[in-house]
């Protein structure tokens, strides 16, 4: 309840500052639209050219893109500032300012990080997913809709876990660009069906960096795909995987803060 009130207060503050920097806000929204719109079209054109990828039609592949973008936008909406701004917070000393307040720093940073810019991602992603289901003539039953919502929640938690985990080295002022590249680079893989890659990539994206659960596995469920990898139950596993990973990421982040308090670096 405390953090909910705090969150509302920060939303009010962010909206007020949007009013005072209107130009920059709209420029940002347009830029985001253009860059993600370009990604959308690139995927679309590529799939159109191939007609199908390993039995996946263009709309089906585009759904992967939509689910990836939607869940990423949800995660980034809450966690982007926490993850990307942490280095600044440490350097400027604002992290110390948060640690002298009677608040959980993780929740405080989520509240503080309200970022309207992600509404453009979310609307683009929803638009993409609607196009796909329509184009494929699939109408989701209420149960499937619930499954879709839970899968997207799980996928968002996977994205969030990745954002949070890769930000921990920054708390210690180690510029770990390597982990960023790992994260942002791997994200591109999952815009295409996992079944087109070789075994090694499939193993990595399922068991090591389980991004496959963001779009490929759950999409199999909604599209009635049967090109199962490893085990036919994996399409249902997105939410548990997301919860598990996020829990680990949160513990790791807390460990990062504890070590910061121990070393002060």
């Amino acid at each position: 309840m405390h953090y909910f009130r705090l969150y509302l207060q920060f939303i009010k503050i962010r909206l007020t500052s949007i009013v005072s920097y209107r130009g920059s806000f709209f420029a940002g929204v347009i830029a985001q639209f253009l860059s993600y719109g370009a990604g959308f079209f690139a995927t679309w054109l590529l799939v159109k050219a191939f007609h199908e990828l390993n039995g996946w039609t263009p709309y089906e592949v585009l759904l992967l893109y939509g689910m990836n973008l939607f869940s990423y936008a949800l995660a980034a909406f809450f966690f982007f500032n926490l993850a990307v701004d942490i280095e600044n917070l440490v350097i400027s000393g604002r992290l110390d300012g948060i640690l002298v307040k009677p608040v959980n720093p993780f929740l405080y940073l989520i509240c503080n990080g309200f970022n309207v810019a992600y509404f453009s991602h979310i609307s683009l992603a929803v638009f993409t997913m609607i196009i796909c289901f329509r184009g494929l003539g699939i109408s989701l039953t209420p149960i499937m809709l619930v499954m879709l919502a839970l899968s997207i929640l799980g996928a968002a938690l996977i994205h969030a876990a990745a954002l949070v985990m890769t930000s921990v080295p920054a708390i210690w002022m180690l510029r770990a660009r390597f982990s960023d590249i790992l994260y942002w680079g791997m994200r591109e893989f999952i815009n295409y069906p996992l079944s087109i890659y070789n075994r090694a990539v499939q193993v990595i994206l399922t068991f090591i960096l389980p991004y496959g659960f963001i779009s490929f596995y759950p999409a199999q469920l909604f599209l009635g795909k049967e090109d199962y990898l490893f085990h036919p139950s994996l399409p249902y596993a997105t939410l548990p995987v997301g919860l598990g990973l996020f829990f680990v990421a949160y513990r790791f982040w807390r460990y990062g803060i504890d070590r910061y308090q121990g070393t002060g670096t």
Partner: protein, 326 residues
């Protein structure tokens, strides 16, 4: 048991050793060597409720590190700290509720927000009940004369106004202790004086235990009852301001530009010559031996002087003195 207890506290930092040159840079990719820097070195002191303590020392003495340990941000490497019976870093949130902290060199305010709304935000952060909130906002707006800039975004405030705002916000939840880290840094003389008056009033009217770090000798003389002086992490002095001044203060430097080379002429032995640079000579004296006015008159009356400059001892001089006198 005192209110704030610091027993044999040590804080060490591990710093990556950087050596010059490409080869060394490549080496450090695989193997890093660390230097251990001791920022706080076996410091002990106690502070009672309601005291106003100046925690002083030159830059890099370990003042901020101590404040960070007291406020629960940093964990001591060794030793023990308790604040009102609580170990700050172990009960960080509980400790945070009863302290206010202001870091002079960084802001805790939202840049685009006017103070009116910043107060609202801090009410939510500290869960301050409405009655206390209203009473404190009124009290501090009045005390810090903030009425004129309440509605302006923080980014448009002057440095002095910003510092008043920082202190007001840190006091909103009625903390029992206020830590001020360099509260007058960068301010002009008038603004410094204001802040000093406010600090004294908070201590006397609100009975808040106050610890401030500074390296400004005027801050020390004008506000503090008690001084704790550290240098290179070690405690050099802990006692009343009066004794401190008698022991280490009172030294001043006079720089004299003589109109002619005054070769061979004897100067009053109470003025100790420390350097000569052409026609410019620098003397050091002590107030207990010769007052500044007397020294000035002495030069003007007895010599043809084109320029005179007097400088009071600053914290570096005082620390140097403390080493000399032990």
């Amino acid at each position: 048991m005192s209110y704030i207890n610091v027993e044999n506290v040590v804080k060490e930092f591990k710093v990556v050793r950087r050596e010059k040159g490409l080869i060394n840079a490549l080496k450090s990719l695989f193997h890093r060597e660390y230097d251990i820097v001791t920022a706080v070195d076996h410091i002990s002191f106690t502070i009672d409720k309601g005291e106003l303590v100046g925690y002083i020392g030159p830059n890099g003495a370990g003042k901020s590190t101590t404040i960070k340990m007291l406020s629960g941000i940093l964990v001591p490497t060794a030793g023990r700290i308790t604040v009102d019976g609580v170990i700050p870093h172990q009960n960080r949130k509980e400790n945070a509720r009863r302290i206010g902290v202001v870091f002079g060199q960084r802001s805790s305010l939202e840049w685009d927000l006017p103070m009116e709304e910043t107060f609202d935000l801090f009410q939510k952060i500290y869960r301050i009940d409405d009655r206390m909130y209203k009473r404190n906002v009124e009290f501090y707006v009045e005390l810090f004369a903030m009425q004129s800039f309440l509605k302006r975004p923080v980014r448009q405030l002057s440095l002095g106004q910003k510092m008043r705002a920082e202190i007001a916000v840190a006091l909103l939840h009625d903390p029992e202790i206020l830590y001020l880290d360099e509260p007058t840094i960068g301010l002009d003389v008038v603004a410094k004086n204001h802040i000093r008056q406010f600090i004294k009033r908070i201590n006397s009217e609100k009975k808040i235990t106050l610890m401030l770090t500074t390296h400004d000798m005027d801050d020390i003389e004008q506000i503090c009852d008690r001084i704790i002086m550290i240098d290179q992490g070690k405690l050099l002095y802990d006692g009343f301001l009066q004794n401190f001044k008698e022991k280490y203060g009172g030294e001043y430097t006079i720089t004299v530009d003589f109109a002619y080379a005054e070769e061979g002429r004897e100067v009053d032995p109470r003025l100790q010559l420390v350097s000569i640079e052409g026609q410019r000579k620098v003397y050091v004296a002590h107030r207990s031996v010769i007052e500044t006015t007397e020294a000035l008159r002495y030069f003007i009356d007895n010599f043809d002087v084109s320029h005179l400059n007097i400088r009071e001892a600053d914290i570096e001089d005082v620390v140097r003195n403390a080493y000399v006198k032990g």
